[in-house]
Point group: C2
Chain length 306, copies 2
């Protein structure tokens, strides 16, 4: 029988879980809120994963999983299997790989949610059509916050789990950030910031960046200003990367990427205006959508089995 | 007899040349102006290297060199042996490795001047005392301009030669740059910019950043402002790196590093003030001084022989 894998993508808001076959085809995808505010966040998480996993396996016609793929948010030490730090979920230096392996009595492949969503995009998504152009690539995930997966000379960059925190790099015009720093990209360039800043500036509460885009298309000058400032800030951060690690490809994912060319076209224009002899990157949309994390968890699960 | 190597470090202003033994001990170090403004800059360079090398070998008691180590400035494709582009020296896609190998009938190890000065610092200098702290490191060379060698997860970053161009990343308050972009770090944070901006602001022509530092120590408020703005700009760029590739160590080299703690102490303070949960890097001075490039050329020459 075809081997199967048990997959988890743990974010600050939701846990996505699924089973997959040996080719990474997902089945039984479920999304539930991440349990929060418990005194022992790592134990609570593994408990929750165990319940979810047991239900998934019981309800499935696939073979019993050979291994688990587990991705978590925050600062992650993949080599040591540690959740180093999660501002949202509260653990510090939690041995999540070992704990999950004990819970399921299975090997666990462990990684960072955004890094592995990027790896999945390179493997199954945008990267599959771009060939060697992804040897130096950045997957920028723009949603409530902003994070990135960096690939340099064909290697995923880890730097002990601290790499790719682009949402917390300063940009001109950036604001005071809950993280404690000032001017972070996330305070102006994220989908969350676009909605929040438009609500404050217009007096009209909106639920998301989509409504700001619609207001802009309807001629609202405040919406246009907020949208343009977000793009300018994202372009600033991309231009910084062009001068440091010089990616050939920038893959834009996350909720804001659903804006399509309304985001990408002015973003390309703004990046180009900031470069001189630098190498100008291709800027393309992500292709895997919200399942990128689970596909990345599959890559980790397969690694753990081998 | 101990093998010897012929070494060249080609900058926009000077060519440094030397011989070395098998341990990288340099001898017969010479520095001559780079020939400029010729119609065929690549041919003119190789001619000049041939003359220099022939004289060096004739005057030395070392064995005939086993190989050549050649570093050049600009955008360099190490794999293909090409000088891709040099704004100062004028070549484009010049097969400098092959041309130099033909001229000397010797194998040539070829690299980028700043990248290999960084590799030499890691191998012989600051890195030798820092252990694994240089797996993720940046060597920032601050002189007339600013460039960097990046090391990520134990690998030197190349990105086709486009990596490490930190002098041409934008910073708040940065000015129009001769490169064609706006706001480049080099326009405010380089030794060249410090001298130029102080001369313009004070009406007193100075020859270098050292005189600005002396004026600051003597209580000149204009000198203090220019110096502080330079440090603030350099710190901004370092903080950007902390959010993207998260170096554990920043090694500061180039002429400005001669200021020692007058540079490093406020730089550390300014970087720290910009970080929150990011990993704070050690900021240390380079140890090899102006011979770092030749020591890097030795590493390349040794590679080419092997």
């Amino acid at each position: 029988m075809n081997p199967s894998y048990l997959l988890f993508d743990v974010g600050g808001t939701d846990i996505k879980s699924a089973l997959s076959d040996n080719e990474g085809n997902l089945s039984d995808i479920r999304r539930v809120p991440t349990r929060r505010g418990t005194p022992n966040p790592a134990e609570a998480l593994v408990d929750q994963l165990h319940t979810l996993g047991t239900e998934l396996i019981a309800g499935s016609t696939l073979a019993t999983p050979e291994s688990v793929g587990l991705l978590v948010c925050g600062i992650v030490d993949e080599d040591k299997g540690l959740g180093v730090f999660s501002a949202n979920l509260g653990w510090r230096d939690a041995p999540l790989r070992h704990m999950t392996s004990e819970a399921f009595s299975l090997p666990v492949g462990f990684g960072h949610d955004v890094s592995m969503a990027g790896a999945a995009e390179l493997h199954f998504g945008a990267g599959a059509t771009l060939g060697s152009k992804v040897n130096n690539a950045v997957m920028l995930v723009i949603g409530t916050g902003i994070a990135a997966a960096l690939f340099v000379d064909g290697h995923a960059v880890s730097a002990g789990g601290y790499a790719g925190e682009l949402g917390h790099a300063a940009v001109p015009g950036g604001l005071k950030c809950p993280c404690g720093a000032h001017g972070c990209l996330e305070t102006i360039g994220s989908a969350g910031a676009i909605a929040k800043r438009y609500s404050a500036a217009s007096g009209t509460q909106v639920r998301g960046a989509r409504e700001v885009l619609e207001a802009m298309h309807a001629g609202d000058p405040v919406a246009k200003r907020i949208w343009d400032e977000a793009i300018e800030a994202i372009a600033f951060s991309i231009a910084q990367l062009c001068a440091s690690i010089a990616p050939e490809t920038i893959i834009i994912g996350g909720g804001l990427a659903q804006a399509g060319e309304a985001l990408l076209e002015p973003l390309r224009r703004s990046v180009r205006s900031k470069l001189s002899y630098h190498r100008e990157p291709l800027i393309v949309p992500a292709q895997l959508g919200e399942d990128a994390g689970l596909r990345g968890a599959f890559l980790k699960a397969q690694e753990a089995r081998a």
